[in-house]
């Protein structure tokens, strides 16, 4: 258990690191306005910007968090958001991500099996082409193809579609990984021994091979979670879903610096939560992870 906690502590350092780094990156920037045809550039806008970010104050980098805690609006203009709005948006995105995860696993399993079968036939090249096709297709293209038929329909249809399009590439990626691991494991001696001793192939797969493939799968979950959440940004934008990705993109476009700082940090925290879950799962299912540090 100690190793899990150690890893968690390492990951947790990431959160304040991101918070402070993004804050100082943003605070360093000059304030610019892109207004047109208007004569005055207001000095109080600059003042409100400095207030919003706590620039020039001791411990100013805590200001966005202070505002968040007090339930005040983050950001300088009417575009600012409060903590509860942020949480509501985040819950929507996480929901889409959670829908996408089983979908990605389904894709992965399906692709791994099909690829193993293709490998021996004349379709072998497809094993390379399909991942390239999945990877080379930015999420917004399938999202746009689906958008006209699902946007403004409600009944979770846009959410499902968003989950579907974001899960394709992570699913195929996982599938390639699992397929490779499966193949390596299947060619090992212990499998031949088990089969030679008369065990059914299904039992061998379940009892001996899968537990050895699982760690490879767990290793890939982190990047896949990142890809799912980042992919949902584009899907949300196209499918008209008012969630965290939309909020983030708009905050960047409107230069709502405090919102960007808080949202980036929230995102990093979310990834820490995911990696904690992965570590706990690994601890539970992989005896090697318990023994290695004992």
């Amino acid at each position: 258990m100690r190793s899990v906690l150690q890893k968690l502590a390492r990951q947790l350092v990431l959160v304040p690191l991101v918070a402070v780094a993004s804050y100082f990156l943003m605070a360093m920037l000059p304030l610019t306005t892109e207004s047109e045809a208007k004569r005055q550039v207001s000095p109080e806008l600059a003042a409100s910007y400095r207030r919003d970010l706590g620039i020039g104050e001791p411990l100013g980098f805590l200001r966005p968090w202070q505002k968040l805690w007090r339930g005040e609006r983050l950001g300088t203009s009417a575009q600012g958001v409060t903590g509860d709005e942020l949480a509501r948006k985040l819950s929507g995105s996480v929901g889409v991500g959670l829908l996408a995860l089983p979908l990605a696993l389904t894709w992965a399993l399906g692709f791994a099996m099909v690829r193993t079968r293709w490998r021996r036939g004349r379709w072998a090249a497809l094993g390379d082409v399909v991942p390239a096709l999945a990877f080379g297709t930015p999420v917004f293209i399938p999202a746009l193809l689906l958008a006209p038929s699902v946007v403004e329909r409600g009944n979770m249809l846009p959410e499902l579609c968003a989950a579907l399009v974001t899960s394709i590439w992570p699913g195929i990626f996982l599938g390639t990984l699992v397929g490779d691991a499966l193949e390596t494991e299947l060619s090992r001696d212990y499998v031949r021994t088990a089969l030679g001793k008369g065990l059914a192939p299904g039992t061998v797969l379940r009892r001996h091979v899968l537990p050895n493939v699982l760690p490879a799968l767990l290793d890939a979950i982190g990047p896949v979670a990142t890809a799912l959440l980042a992919g949902s940004f584009a899907a949300e934008r196209v499918l008209g879903l008012p969630y965290f990705g939309q909020l983030y993109v708009l905050a960047v476009l409107n230069k709502q610096v405090a919102v960007v700082v808080v949202a980036t940090t929230t995102f990093a925290s979310l990834l820490v939560v995911v990696s904690l879950a992965v570590e706990l799962t690994r601890y539970a299912v992989d005896p090697r992870s318990r023994e290695a540090r004992a």
Binding site: D128, A132, I141, V249
Partner: protein
């Protein structure tokens, strides 16, 4: 290791072919495409044909990918080499930092960096970086962590081998060993890492451009797709989007084939 595998050959050929094609069609003789494009004119920009825009975009995307991929590979290599040279607790600390950067999603960080760079440019402190330079710099700044991890692990593996131990025993210093003994063994791997960064950089750029955050001028393949997505929902839109999409997929296919084959082959040889 003497023979480059056929898949890598095919991938590299595909990449080089696309590069030459984009150079010839997009840069050298765009007027040929303007008059012969079978897909007709772009509905959003009636003065240009679909082919011109797609191949012109391919050229820009390739340039972004090559520069950003090369730069991030280089940064990764330097970080890994420094980590191995200093060793000990410093190496661990450096690796934690690398892990932290690696954990952040590319798209999100590039968006933040673009925002920062554009604010600086608006205020007149762009430092001579145009939209292209800014994009390459932000992609390189997020993309180095992966290569750094891979190089560091590779170096650790290589250093465990006998010829390195022998060189050390003969009194070879850290830098000497790295330069004379490790680098030649690392070269094909570095190429593979670089090739694996190429499509990632191109795709990240396309997604960020799609959001309208990057101001790439002339248009990259990603920005072209991003700005003409409205064409998808009109009749005949597919002819506009399909070529650009197909080029993107071919680019990724070439790079990933070459990269996989190159990174796998030395491992089997050793």
């Amino acid at each position: 290791m003497n023979r480059v595998p056929a898949r890598a050959c095919f991938g590299l050929l595909l990449l080089v072919g696309l590069g030459v094609l984009s150079l010839v069609a997009g840069r050298l003789f765009p007027e040929v495409l303007a008059s012969t494009c079978p897909l007709g004119e772009d509905p959003m920009r009636p003065d240009r044909t679909v082919c011109e825009l797609a191949f012109g975009g391919l050229w820009v995307s390739l340039a972004v990918g090559l520069c950003a991929g090369g730069l991030s590979t280089l940064i990764g290599l330097i970080v890994a080499a420094v980590a191995r040279l200093v060793g000990g607790a410093w190496e661990q600390a450096l690796l934690r930092g690398v892990d932290a950067v690696f954990a952040l999603p590319d798209v999100l960080v590039v968006m933040v960096l673009q925002l920062a760079g554009q604010s600086l440019a608006d205020a007149g402190h762009s430092g001579g970086l145009g939209p292209f330079g800014l994009m390459v710099a932000s992609l390189a700044l997020v993309g180095w962590a992966g290569p750094a991890r891979m190089f560091r692990n590779r170096l650790a593996t290589l250093e465990g081998q006998e010829f390195v131990a022998a060189a050390r025993a003969l009194g070879g210093g850290g830098v000497h060993v790295l330069r004379v003994h490790l680098w030649p063994a690392l070269r094909p791997f570095a190429l593979a890492v670089f090739l694996s960064r190429l499509p990632t950089a191109i795709l990240t750029e396309s997604t960020v451009s799609f959001f309208g955050i990057a101001r790439m001028e002339p248009m990259s393949l990603g920005r072209y797709l991003g700005t003409s997505y409205a064409a998808l929902i009109y009749e005949g839109g597919a002819r506009v989007v399909l070529p650009a999409w197909a080029l993107l997929v071919l680019l990724v296919l070439g790079a990933s084939l070459a990269s996989q084959a190159l990174s796998a082959s030395p491992r089997k040889a050793s």
